[in-house]
């Protein structure tokens, strides 16, 4: 399964190999990546797993559904053009080397 990279707000990079069939959020929380809070556990209900997808990847991911778009209006750090909820990005083999940035605040 894909290797993905999280770039923390201070610029440090953290790579991990995600297990099969999980979301970016699940991969992050399983590996203890700081800055992904994910209070609601993946139901697109809390906006605390906000990530900013690297521009090179922006068009390659399936588009967000309406419930995710609404929740993206509720992020603690202002939403950016490539903002996503990491719980709604289901990892596939095609996402090898996906890069996402973690915003300054989740709450």
């Amino acid at each position: 399964m894909p290797d993905i990279t999280f770039i923390h707000f201070d610029g440090t990079e953290q790579g991990l190999e995600a297990p099969a069939g999980v979301s970016v959020m699940q991969a992050a929380t399983a590996a203890g990546v700081a800055g992904i809070v994910a209070e609601c556990g993946g139901s697109a209900m809390c906006a605390t797993c906000h990530v900013i997808v690297d521009e090179a990847w922006a068009d390659k991911l399936p588009a967000p559904l309406s419930n995710e778009l609404e929740m993206l209006e509720c992020t603690a750090t202002e939403r950016q053009p490539t903002s996503r909820l990491s719980c709604q990005i289901k990892l596939t083999a095609a996402m090898q080397w996906l890069v996402v940035r973690i915003p300054e605040r989740q709450q």
């Binding site: 203890g32 209070e39 609601c40 556990g41 139901s43 809390c46 419930n67 609404e70 929740m71 209006e73």
Partner: protein, 403 residues
């Protein structure tokens, strides 16, 4: 070949007094018996008690529907005790539009706007509790704190009038009892059902709601054509049935957790910013909503085991929250655990729509305590209020030692 033979059966009644008082030994037996278990008293039910299967069932709403009721009764084959919830007990596509409206009214963004009011109410109530504890030697954590707080702030936010709010307690108790069998608990709690339901429906009328409150916003959504006008009062009622008893017990159970873990409380007192994770861990460790059901809409499988169409699937949320396959040392209350993925507020499309408000209430009450109170001491033996669905305390004698 009969896969059903691979599903173990235990002679367990989840609704026995013994299991309602202390469900944890039952949970352990069920989890150890297998991912899916049949229980002798309810032949049309299978039980999922491990985290993986509870999560999987909740996240497959196409196979495991809510429209046949999220309690023990199968609405497709039996007469419901009460009309079904128009949000919790409906399926897509009908569910989707309504859910969108409710999500917007209770969104994290809205919660930021009510935060200051909710915090001020929590601080003044905690102050009154500290004064009472000083003068009388103890408070009742339930009647003095866990109950009055949600009963004040949430109906205020919905836009309800002040008087008669104790009816909400009777109503909530009845709703959550009605998801179990038609036992003594349900009979007792529904003794005043028609009177209390009439009161609540009157209060849910538009002219009785404060303009701009959560309730009025539902009517505005009806004006905008997003939902029907017939649905609006029922959704206001859903706010009140789902949003009061749950948070009361969430806060009560958090007080119980902290009173019995003085080291954890000391950490919280030293760093009130831990209020939110402390509440979250209490949701996991002592979950308010113990169980919800789904119904298999066709022959299907759970964990590779065959489940016939129309089977009721009993999902034990609080057991999933203490599943050792998911959580290290699950029986320990650890204030700095990150229990993301716990099932106390559900998961998937029916996940608690008010969860941002619920977390706000829990957080600001615990933060107010953390700042004002040095120690919480157990001042006597607690008692439980048994309910078919909720884990609830009747009394919780506490001594608050001011900082």
């Amino acid at each position: 070949m009969n896969d059903a033979l691979n599903i173990p059966e235990l002679d367990i009644d989840p609704y026995s007094t013994e299991n309602l008082l202390d469900p944890y030994p039952m949970h352990r037996r069920l989890r150890e018996a297998g991912p899916v278990v049949r229980i002798t008293p309810y032949p049309n039910v299978v039980v999922c008690s491990r985290h993986a299967e509870v999560h999987a069932v909740f996240n497959d709403h196409a196979t495991f529907i809510s429209g046949a009721g999220v309690g023990l009764t199968n609405f497709d084959t039996e007469t419901p005790f009460r009309p079904k919830s128009q949000i919790l007990e409906v399926d897509p596509p009908f569910h989707t539009q309504t859910r969108t409206v409710l999500s917007r009214i209770l969104s994290p963004k809205v919660v930021m706007q009510i935060r200051a009011t909710f915090t001020a109410e929590a601080e003044s109530l905690v102050e009154r509790c500290v004064e009472k504890s000083n003068s009388q030697g103890e408070i009742d954590g339930i009647h003095d704190l866990a109950q009055p707080y949600p009963l004040k702030v949430f109906p205020d936010a919905v836009g309800l009038g002040d008087d008669g709010r104790e009816n909400l307690l009777i109503y909530g108790d009845m709703i959550f009892n009605s998801m179990g069998p038609r036992n003594e608990l349900l009979a007792k709690s529904s003794a005043r059902v028609s009177e209390v339901t009439a009161w609540i429906m009157e209060r849910c009328r538009r002219e009785n709601l404060r303009p701009g409150g959560f309730g009025d916003q539902i009517y505005q959504a009806a004006d905008a054509g997003e939902i029907t006008h017939e649905l609006a009062p029922m959704l206001v009622r859903s706010f009140l049935s789902a949003g009061v008893d749950t948070t009361i017990n969430g806060i009560g159970n958090a007080l119980f957790s902290l009173a019995h873990h003085p080291d954890a409380y000391a950490k919280l007192h030293a760093d009130p910013a831990l209020a939110r994770p402390a509440f979250e861990e209490a949701l996991r460790w002592e979950s308010t909503v113990q169980t919800f059901f789904r119904t298999a809409v066709r022959d299907c499988e759970i964990a590779g085991l065959a489940i016939p169409e129309n089977t009721k699937v009993l999902c034990m949320l609080s057991s999933a929250n203490r599943d050792p396959l998911k959580w290290p040392e699950p029986d320990r209350y650890e204030i700095d655990r990150r229990p993301s993925g716990h099932m106390a507020l559900g998961s998937g499309i029916h996940g608690c729509v008010g969860q941002a408000v619920a977390r706000l209430e829990g957080e600001v009450v615990l933060a107010a305590l953390a700042k004002r109170v040095k120690r919480i001491e157990v001042a006597g033996v607690h008692s439980r209020r048994l309910n078919n669905t909720l884990r609830a305390l009747e009394t919780l004698p506490l001594r608050l030692v001011a900082a």
